[in-house]
């Protein structure tokens, strides 16, 4: 089984994030493997251990992403590829990333591609489906279970809290939802082994792509933090007066009705 995992390095949204000049400040931020991609790596390793084959983790990003790729190798992936776009792409979007990944993957004869459901930074959830579309491959998003028997694939996917069962075939792209598995920690022997595993670095040139072929289709107008949460207010007085006041506030202050 030839398995590819799409992995993004992202900042940890549980840590403090600060925005200055319309950009997220990377200085104080902690960087991690996008948590949904961690499920993807874990699932790929489990399927590989069960069915044999090879797991390759691919990331589009800059040199810093090497650490996250090495971590995936330490978890048990076999190979890693970093498509370094630092010099070529200034403002990429989901189209950019998907186009690059599809170009890389088109001749790889992947049986299964696993991506995260969304990246917790941009939160678009588009890259997986777009890659599948460009490759002309079927895809299933937000999966919480996958069983492979020969060519057939049995999937359970999360639909807003409900489950949907799907039968499909390889080759296939799926995106991982929380609950798919419990990602392992990279063990220390795993970390030591990861040093010796192959990590290739490519640029757009190596994929015969021009900068304008991957130009973003969208433009980011502004980046800002959500407004600070104000302290709550407790209304007082007769119940009917409170209701009256609440309606007024919803109307005039919150402007939701």
């Amino acid at each position: 089984m030839n398995i590819y995992v799409l992995l993004k390095r992202t900042f940890d949204t549980e840590e403090k994030i600060s925005v200055a000049n319309g950009q997220i400040q990377e200085d104080g931020a902690e960087f991690i493997i996008n948590p949904y991609d961690e499920y993807a790596v874990e699932e790929a390793i489990q399927i590989r251990d069960d069915k044999g084959g090879e797991v390759t983790v691919v990331s589009v990003g800059n040199e810093e992403a090497e650490k996250q790729l090495r971590t995936a190798l330490a978890m048990g992936a076999d190979k890693a590829v970093l498509i370094n776009t630092e010099d070529d792409v200034e403002n990429g979007d989901q189209y950019t990333t998907a186009k690059i990944l599809a170009e890389f993957l088109k001749d790889k004869e992947a049986d299964l591609i696993i991506a995260g459901n969304v990246a917790i930074d941009g939160g678009s959830g588009q890259v997986g489906p777009r890659v599948a579309d460009l490759l002309g491959m079927p895809y299933v998003t937000t999966i919480t279970e996958i069983k492979i028997e020969g060519e057939s694939v049995h999937i359970v996917r999360d639909v807003e809290g409900d489950s949907e069962k799907i039968e499909t075939k390889l080759p296939l792209l799926v995106t991982a939802q929380q609950g798919l598995n419990d990602p392992r920690y990279p063990s220390l022997p795993g970390i030591m082994k990861a040093k010796k595993k192959p990590l290739d670095e490519l640029e757009l040139d190596d994929l015969d792509l021009d900068e304008d072929e991957v130009e973003a289709k969208t433009e980011t107008i502004a980046v800002f933090l959500p407004p600070k949460k104000e302290a709550g207010r407790i209304l007082e007085g007769e119940l009917s007066d409170q209701v009256q006041e609440l309606v007024n506030l919803l109307h005039s202050e919150a402007k939701v009705i």
């Binding site: 090497e66 090495r70 920690y185 220390l188 795993g190 970390i191 990861a194």
Partner: protein, 380 residues
């Protein structure tokens, strides 16, 4: 000069940090209350290769270096001081002497399962009447045919209640100058005549297992002698030199935890109409804490690095242990101060940090003994 961690060290740090956040920290308060031992965490640490960091793969270890080991101790200690102490002692005191001085058979028999995380080991040096002055050891081992017969008493031995074996120091003879010859002998914890009781009601590091050991006519094969029969004393001095790096790393972990808690609290706590972090008096405390933590960590990493380079590290290890443990105590104390009345309550963790940190100024050589060691290195 290069102060950067390698990629592997950085990955290890991330891994141990998230492991400790999830598997160790949530239990710290409860284990402090009950004086329980987090066996589950030790099992998982074993599976992740953390109990074998500084040992080569051929002995079941992970082939890491002392710097990596120090990083792991710091992160575990940051989550729970008691678990951190048991972790550090398991490697530095339980396993390392066998790696340093053991025969090939002893390494296969005792070290390999420890490095793989399947068993724990202890090191029994301290006695009721021999603490700082280990030369005052009274436990005796007498050769009787092919066996040593051991009699004596050891106190405050870390992990003994969960250990498969204890390395026991005992007097095996007298030198010409009248001084005792002290040797180290591997004693299986289940050998007849060994009684281990773990009933101490400790001030801190309560998640660490600490026991009293009574040895009554305990017979072990003479092959269980560890290293040179004449050089037991210098062997355990070397063992303690290494152990000091890990105690210092543990101290840095607790100090870092205290700093983070205090900083976060200072930003949130409002008095006199502003957060107390705006008061210079609080800022200066935090600045001092951060500075000392940084210095202590640098000293820990330097002594670990010296050890990894095969260079003398005894002086630096003593300095690291002295400065880091005292930093840890000061930082925890200031963290309580910054928390005001809340800091005095167990719920806020910082008072536990202080109780845990206190042990680090005592165990594996008191602060006074560290100063003595440093002074000797200075040529006094």
């Amino acid at each position: 000069m290069n102060f950067e961690l390698t990629k592997e060290q950085q990955m290890l740090k991330d891994m141990v940090r998230s492991f400790a956040e999830k598997e160790i920290k949530p239990y710290a308060q409860e284990l402090d209350k009950t004086s329980g031992f987090n066996e589950q965490a030790f099992k998982k640490m074993g599976e992740l290769g953390l109990l074998g960091i500084p040992f080569p793969e051929e002995y079941g270890g992970s082939g890491g270096d002392t710097v990596s080991y120090a990083i792991a101790v710091e992160e575990i200690g940051k989550a729970c001081g008691g678990t951190g102490l048991s972790y550090a002692a398991a490697i530095s005191l339980g396993a390392s002497p066998i790696f340093y001085f053991g025969t090939e058979e002893q390494k296969q028999e005792w070290l390999v399962p420890m490095a793989k995380g399947e068993t724990l080991g202890s090191f029994g040096l301290t006695e009721p009447n021999a603490g700082s002055d280990a030369g005052g050891t009274r436990t005796k081992a007498v050769l009787d045919g092919d066996e040593y017969v051991i009699n004596g008493e050891k106190c405050w031995i870390t992990n003994a209640g969960f250990a498969r074996q204890i390395i026991v120091t005992a007097v095996t003879g007298k030198k010409d100058n009248g001084r005792s010859i002290i040797s180290a002998i591997i004693v299986p914890a289940d050998a007849p005549g060994v009684t281990i009781s773990c009933n101490y009601d400790k001030m801190g590091v309560r998640a660490s297992n600490t026991c009293e050991i009574v040895l009554e006519n305990v017979r072990v094969p003479k092959e269980n002698l560890l290293g040179d029969s004449q050089k037991g004393f210098s062997q355990f001095l070397y063992t303690l030199d290494g152990g000091r790096i890990s105690i210092a790393a543990l101290a840095v972990g607790i100090a870092q935890a205290a700093l983070e808690k205090a900083l976060q609290y200072a930003k949130e706590r409002v008095q006199f109409g502003q957060s107390i972090s705006k008061f210079q008096a609080i800022q200066f405390k935090l600045a001092d804490m951060a500075t000392e933590v940084e210095l202590a960590r640098n000293l820990v990493h330097k002594s670990a690095w010296l050890k990894d380079q095969g260079k003398p590290f005894g002086k630096e290890a003593a300095m690291a242990k002295l400065f880091a443990s005292e930093t840890s105590f000061r930082a925890s104390n200031q963290a309580i101060q910054i928390h005001g009345g809340y800091g005095y309550m167990k719920e806020y963790d910082v008072e536990r940090f202080l109780r845990d940190a206190k042990l680090l100024e005592i165990g594996e050589g008191t602060s006074e003994i560290q100063r003595l060691v440093i002074a000797r290195h200075l040529g006094c």
